[in-house]
């Protein structure tokens, strides 16, 4: 009886967990790299990284279809290994990562840039290489911001609908995430089921906001100290 709710919930949890972990590392790496990168393409790269925020999800979905389709460059590449990601579970992860990445990147970068450069300089004169300096000074000092960025990415990944539907489709138990399930329940006139699914998403989002507020307060505290 609970199956119609458990299935989309478990798909969403799997997708969002994997997507958040990938976004976390990808976003931090990109942010760290861009803080130092002073090359001539720096603004261009920044724009490309932030593009998914301003594009409608359907545009992203369509773009990904072109990219991963049978004739797309990435689709052809995957075909060499006899796989395709269109209408499969990994597609939900791909779209979630792409829409969540800009939030992670942008927020983490802001956090890194706020760390007093003299603290980083002090670490350098004390013999620390750039790697050690990042792990022992920059990251710990921007940790609350990084955590806030992770919560934001998590919620964005959870809420992804348009691009997911276009690239992953609606295959119950495989690619039907919570937002997709709500849409199709509503289409089928199953108000009660749609409402229950909505409540599940609502609880998730609320918990994330509470976490976010907590990390924000923590970040302010650090800034004062």
């Amino acid at each position: 009886m609970l199956e119609p709710f458990i299935l989309p919930l478990s798909v969403s949890i799997k997708t969002v967990s994997v997507a958040t972990v990938i976004t976390f590392f990808l976003g931090i790496a990109a942010a760290r790299w861009m803080v130092d990168y002073k090359g001539r393409f720096s603004s261009l790269i920044d724009v490309i990284f932030l593009l998914p925020i301003v594009l409608p999800p359907t545009v992203i979905g369509f773009g990904l279809l072109l990219l991963f389709g049978n004739r797309g460059p990435l689709g052809k590449l995957l075909a060499l290994f006899d796989t395709t990601i269109i209408f499969s579970w990994p597609a939900t992860v791909v779209t979630a990562v792409i829409v969540a990445f800009p939030l992670m990147y942008m927020t983490a970068r802001g956090g890194f840039e706020q760390v007093d450069t003299n603290l980083e300089n002090a670490a350098r004169t004390l013999g620390a290489g750039e790697w050690r300096l990042f792990w022992t000074v920059t990251l710990p000092l921007s940790w609350p911001t990084v955590m806030a960025a992770t919560v934001l990415s998590f919620t964005r990944a959870l809420g992804e609908f348009g691009a997911t539907l276009m690239l992953a489709g609606n295959l119950p138990g495989r690619t039907t995430t919570l937002p997709v399930a709500i849409y199709f329940r509503l289409q089928a006139g199953q108000m009660r089921e749609a409402l229950i699914l909505t409540l599940v998403v609502f609880i998730f989002a609320l918990a994330s906001l509470v976490l976010l507020a907590y990390w924000k307060a923590k970040a302010r505290q650090n800034g004062r100290g």
Binding site: D116, L119, N121, A122, A123, L126, T136, L141, N222
Partner: protein, 361 residues
């Protein structure tokens, strides 16, 4: 030994300095924006000069010619930042141990407790920087910088955030540091008194150049030009012309005062007849007397300003040209006679012992 010769050009500012420090404390003195901090950042490798050469104990750490730029972490140069830059998320002990990452743990513990003794705060080792007073923070920053035993130590205005009382104690502590730390120390300050107390040599900075670099006694007794004289505290500076001279003294005609002044000339200085010179005297050494004597100038008091322990008074010389030339006196204590002298003519005594003479051109 630290040998520096660097150039760095920014829009509207050029840093161009040569400096050598030989296992001693060198005070870098100058107004803000004169390139003092930039020099330290170049030496530490935190910014890259446009050209030049930096050698530390005969090891080239930067050379534009040979395209050598040793990374800051490999330069073995300690740095105490103006705001101390203590890691806020690490304890005092962890801060001090940060530069000892490559050493075995036993040695790190021993070294840290040793340094905590030296800076006299062993009980605070588990506190965080925000829980320390600024004086304690400064000492932690110092301990952290010398922990890896750097070959040179750079101090960027380490006392600027402290109140007067703490400042004096810490100046004393910095001087006694010599017993613990041996190596070149560059000490940046904008305070003449502080630079003189702490350093053995003084490098006078102005607008990206070194105006004078010499033993501190030389710097405060024989400034080489107007800028150096101003930086060394000679607020009263007038131009004149040598009219007569002997081995150890000279008569100088001062058009501003319309009279001659006698100046004692250092043995090393060669003067010629009619030479244009500049005469300088500190406000503390200029005294007002009521009767004309030798080397006095007739003046009138313009205004006076009371400080806590000092009295500044401003005069102008009376002469036939009716030109107002302002002179400043500073007395320790409040001079009682002064009120009686207001709006009256008095005489300022230019003590030849305290006059400096600077050849011009």
């Amino acid at each position: 030994m630290l040998e520096i010769s660097i150039k760095r050009t920014l829009p509207g500012f050029t840093l161009d300095v040569k400096l050598t420090a030989n296992e001693e404390i060198v005070s870098i003195l100058g107004p803000s924006g004169s390139g003092k901090t930039m020099t330290l950042f170049c030496i530490a490798g935190l910014i890259r000069p446009d050209e030049g050469l930096i050698k530390l104990n005969n090891r080239v750490i930067y050379s534009s010619e040979d395209k050598i730029f040793i990374a800051p972490r490999n330069r073995k140069i300690g740095f105490v930042f103006q705001n101390y830059a203590l890691f806020p998320h690490l304890t005092v002990a962890e801060n001090i141990a940060y530069g000892l990452a490559d050493q075995p743990e036993k040695r790190v513990i021993k070294k840290v407790s040793e340094l905590l003794e030296v800076i006299n705060i062993p009980a605070l080792k588990d506190r965080y920087p925000a829980e320390l007073s600024s004086g304690q923070q400064q000492r932690v920053a110092l301990a952290r910088a010398i922990a890896p035993e750097p070959e040179a130590l750079l101090l960027d205005e380490p006392f600027s955030a402290l109140d007067a009382y703490r400042k004096e104690r810490l100046e004393y502590e910095l001087l006694s540091l010599n017993r613990y730390y041996r190596g070149d120390i560059l000490f940046v300050t904008h305070d003449l008194d502080q630079g003189f107390k702490v350093g053995k040599h003084i490098a006078m900075y102005d607008n990206g150049k070194i105006v004078q670099y010499a033993d501190k006694h030389q710097v405060i007794s024989c400034p080489v030009n107007r800028t150096a004289a101003r930086l060394a505290g000679f607020k009263n500076l007038v131009e004149g012309q040598v009219v007569a001279y002997s081995d150890d003294a000279a008569e100088v005609f001062i058009p501003e005062f319309d009279q001659n002044l006698t100046v004692i000339v250092p043995a090393s200085m060669k003067l010629i007849a009619d030479q244009a010179v500049m005469i300088g005297i500190r406000p503390e050494h200029l005294t007002a007397v009521s009767q004309p004597e030798s080397n006095t100038v007739c003046c009138r008091l313009d205004r006076k300003v009371h400080g806590v322990t000092t009295l500044h008074s401003y005069y102008h010389a009376l002469n036939d040209h009716q030109q107002r030339y302002s002179l400043e006196c500073r007395y320790l204590g409040v001079d009682q006679d002064l009120s009686a002298r207001e709006e009256k003519t008095c005489y300022l005594y230019f003590n030849p012992q305290h006059l400096v003479i600077i050849p011009l051109g």
